[in-house]
């Protein structure tokens, strides 16, 4: 006996589907799948109401016992999927077939016959899933383009180009926040509830509010509630009802409530400082931040009042202004305890975002904290970033720090065709150790290269005789010194050409980011990895902040920290300006991703570049040779290397 079936019909949007409903009501357990199609296609279907007789016989050859409407390829595939999902008897009727009583009755007879003939087992509707599961599935569809069964979402873009969810997803264009964006003259519209479920009456976009039904039509068919066509750059999605419900359930949660750290008047922002950081750097960072916040608040102090005092055009925009409030979160004790301290601070005063920051050691604990609580962290001052090699979202770094430098060194060695033994010297537990472990990891993939490490004892300085001894023991031809200016002080490599055959690398970040004459830096074999602006340009580029700093009586001591912190604050402002009154943290990150035009204002890095999902802005470094003191003016040789490793 026929227990159940799925009817696929191709109805007119908004029309009563009498036939389909009739069949559904006649035989209990039958499921109705509405599949709206474009006007043109529907017209074709309507011409062929008689053809399902032929199709029925075709279906007898199908294992699933389905009646197919062999129309366009896309619809065929869609039906095939529905059949696989339901494993019942499936009838794909034409639009007219499902709209008339007589044809419906005829269908029922045919179906019963098919049921008797094939006696298919019918799987009942899937169990009802909870709201949260539905949202999770929707998130998976939105972000990864993967359906519940692990198959990729299928869609058609530009009318006829098939796209799989593994190629691109909703997130690719609409962003993690769903607030959309622009590229050139191609605009992606916002898909958060505030945008979807309210009418749009701007100069650029007019439509009434979507409801669930019309939203389904928009996603499946590319039509607004008015029946006008959406851009064909928006794909038309083939989703089963449950998947559609999941996606819509997720969209209802997407950027629906303002993120924490925000009041009517204030926007709370935190920065992090740990014990044992250089007091000069700490002072430099805080002075810049306080100055920047004070400036910003002074400039915008009256903006919100303007809303009440005058017929300003789009006055609602003025409501986006908030006073920025800076919270300095001081971390004490060992890094293992930082997470708990951060949570404590955050519970006391949630912040909307974090900016800059300075800690002794790895940034990882703060990185993980921000990732867990979904707090944007804009450009911390660190050479030891977290999240490398992951898809983490919430922390934006200047670069991969010493990881980048280690890859640049490896790329330079490969270009020189210098394999063989490399000796690394570093101090354990400090950022130099991170550089050393990164290098070891990087060259593990390169044939013929072997690494020996030498850990410098705490408090010790590099000693020429000892170094040469280590080189000899390790049979190294290349040396990397992950050491600070202090640790290198007083060491000269003059006359060591016989003992060290290859280059000696130094890290500019380890030396403080600014080239201070180090006695060791003599002779052409010493190479400096330098991700920063070349020394000869540093004065000029620092001019971007010099006057601002001077007029606020901030001492011009630590150029690197001053420049980076100023730029971090500027980018926070840039991002907040772009998100306007849409205070969603994900949107802040999405907006920063599109801030490439602001890359050139960097004070320290010659080339930053932003891009969606890119979390480390500087992608390369200079290798500077000829590091004699006069190089401050013009190094003889500086090569920009982007490591392809």
């Amino acid at each position: 006996m026929l227990l159940g079936a799925t009817i696929v019909q191709v109805p007119h949007r908004g029309e009563e589907n009498k036939g389909g409903t009739a069949i559904k009501n006649t035989v209990p357990g039958w499921k109705l799948v509405r599949r709206p199609v474009s006007y043109r296609k529907k017209y074709l279907y309507s011409l062929l109401p008689w053809s399902f007789v032929v199709l029925f016989f075709l279906s007898l050859r199908e294992k699933s016992g389905a009646v197919y409407f062999l129309e366009t390829e896309s619809l065929q595939q869609e039906i095939r999927r529905i059949v696989q999902e339901n494993r019942g008897i499936t009838v794909a009727g034409g639009w007219s077939a499902c709209n008339g009583w007589l044809t419906s009755l005829f269908l029922i007879v045919l179906l019963s016959f098919a049921g008797v003939c094939q006696g298919k087992e019918v799987v009942q509707d899937k169990e009802e899933v909870s709201g949260e599961e539905l949202i999770a599935l929707g998130r998976q569809i939105y972000r990864q383009g993967i359906l519940a069964d692990g198959e990729p979402v299928e869609a058609y873009v530009m009318g006829d180009v098939k796209v799989l969810g593994t190629q691109f997803t909703c997130l690719n264009c609409h962003g993690r926040s769903g607030l959309g964006g622009a590229e050139g003259k191609t605009y992606t519209l916002a898909v958060n509830p505030a945008a979807l479920f309210s009418p749009r009456e701007s100069v650029y976009l007019q439509r009434s509010a979507y409801d669930e039904g019309t939203l389904e039509v928009a996603i499946r068919q590319g039509e607004t509630p008015e029946g006008t066509a959406l851009s064909t750059a928006m794909p038309v999605y083939h989703l089963a009802d449950r998947e559609m419900a999941a996606l819509i359930a997720y969209l209802k949660t997407l950027s629906n409530e303002f993120s924490p750290g925000l009041t009517e008047e204030e926007l709370h922002i935190a920065t992090v400082i740990s014990d044992q950081v250089d007091p000069m750097a700490e002072h430099a960072m805080l002075a810049v931040m306080e100055g920047y916040f004070k400036d910003k608040n002074a400039r915008t102090r009256n903006e919100r009042k303007r809303v009440d005092h005058g017929p300003f055009y789009q006055h609602y925009r003025l409501k986006a202004y908030r006073q920025w409030v800076l919270h300095v979160w001081e971390l004490h004790g060992p890094p293992e305890t930082w997470t708990a301290q951060l949570e404590e601070y955050y519970n006391q005063q949630p912040v909307f975002a974090m900016v800059a920051g300075l800690v002794q050691g790895a940034w990882e604990p703060i990185h993980a904290f921000c990732e867990k609580n979904e707090i944007p962290n804009v450009l911390p001052n660190t050479d030891w970033p977290g999240g490398i090699g992951t898809d983490d979202f919430y922390t934006l770094y200047f670069s991969e720090g010493l990881h980048l430098e280690s890859r640049v060194i490896a790329a330079d060695l490969v270009a020189l065709q210098r394999s063989g033994r490399v000796l690394q010297v570093y101090r354990p537990g400090e950022k130099g150790a991170f550089g050393a472990s990164s290098f070891r990891e990087t060259v593990a993939r390169i044939e013929g290269m072997a690494v020996s490490d030498w850990a410098l004892e705490r408090g010790a300085r590099l000693n020429r005789a000892e170094l040469l001894n280590w080189v000899k023991e390790a049979k190294a031809e290349t040396v990397i010194l992950w050491l600070s200016a202090e640790e290198l002080a007083g060491v000269s490599l003059a006359g060591t050409e016989q003992m060290i055959a290859g280059p000696v690398y130094l890290s500019s970040s380890m030396l403080g980011g600014v080239l201070t004459p180090v006695p060791l830096i003599e002779g052409k074999r010493v190479k400096l990895v330098h991700p920063f602006v070349l020394p000869k340009n540093q004065e000029a580029v620092f001019g971007r902040v010099r006057v601002w700093l001077e007029s606020r009586n901030i001492p011009l001591n630590d150029h690197r920290i001053l420049g980076q912190t100023y730029y971090a604050c500027m980018m926070l402002g840039e991002g907040l300006m772009h998100i306007r009154r849409h205070f969603y943290r994900d949107y802040l990150m999405d907006a920063l991703d599109h801030s490439n035009a602001k890359a050139i204002y960097s004070v320290n890095y010659p080339r930053l570049s932003y891009g969606p999902g890119q979390r480390y802005l500087a992608k390369g470094a200079f290798i500077i040779e000829e590091t004699a003191p006069e190089m401050k003016k013009s190094p003889a040789s500086a090569t920009w290397i982007v490591p392809y490793l």
């Binding site: 017209y43 098939k162 264009c173 050139g184 490439n596 570049s609």
Partner: protein, 208 residues
């Protein structure tokens, strides 16, 4: 123009009219079918700008997804038809559509696709390393004949300028497609996103 739009309007109403009054004659149906053909023609009108241009290929060396050096002049001096686009791997909105257009074209052409040179040039060269480009091509199921090229920022800027496609900021980038037939030295420059059919038609015109 107004006339055509009227036709669209009437076909929108069409199915309702026919089906509600079932015993409509075939002649009426075929009459409306003719209208549909008319609409199809109107819809086939390209949504993009198409011009024919002459470009001088710059003497630069780029790097492909396998990390191999590719001298551009020599690479494009080929007997195969060439289609060239500027994209970047983390691009939103435009590049995914351009790239899926390549995937679709290769699919449609089947074995013939091997005789077509598809070129994507990165405009975010420092992020788009060979490793990133290779993963990108895999994601789009690229078949042999489709190369993704990167290079130094200087060289990439030269390449963009050579095709009058320079943008100072990659986020301001336009959907440009360049096609060249083996015989001609001129390029067909297309500004605008295309459907699969449109791209295929442009490709077939190259072969004429």
């Amino acid at each position: 123009m107004i006339h055509i739009e009227n036709n669209i309007y009437s076909t929108k109403r069409l199915p309702v009219t026919i089906i509600r009054n079932t015993p409509f004659s075939l002649s009426v149906i075929s009459f409306f079918l003719l209208l549909t053909l008319n609409v199809t023609q109107a819809m086939a009108k390209p949504r993009y700008n198409r011009t024919v241009e002459e470009y001088k290929i710059p003497d630069i060396t780029l790097i492909n997804q396998d990390g191999e050096r590719v001298p551009l002049v020599k690479y494009l001096d080929t007997e195969q038809p060439v289609i060239l686009e500027f994209i970047f791997a983390t691009c939103t909105t435009i590049c995914p559509i351009l790239s899926i257009g390549y995937t679709n074209l290769q699919d449609q052409l089947g074995a013939e696709a091997a005789n077509l040179r598809l070129v994507s040039i990165s405009i975010d060269p420092e992020y788009d390393t060979p490793e990133v480009m290779k993963a990108y091509l895999q994601r789009y199921n690229a078949q042999p004949g489709w190369d993704f090229l990167t290079g130094s920022i200087g060289d990439i800027n030269v390449a963009m300028r050579a095709f009058d496609a320079f943008v100072p900021d990659k986020m301001g980038h336009r959907p440009l497609i360049f096609l060249r037939s083996p015989k001609e030295k001129t390029w067909v420059r297309i500004d605008g996103l295309m459907s699969g059919k449109e791209l295929k038609n442009e490709y077939l015109q190259l072969k004429k």
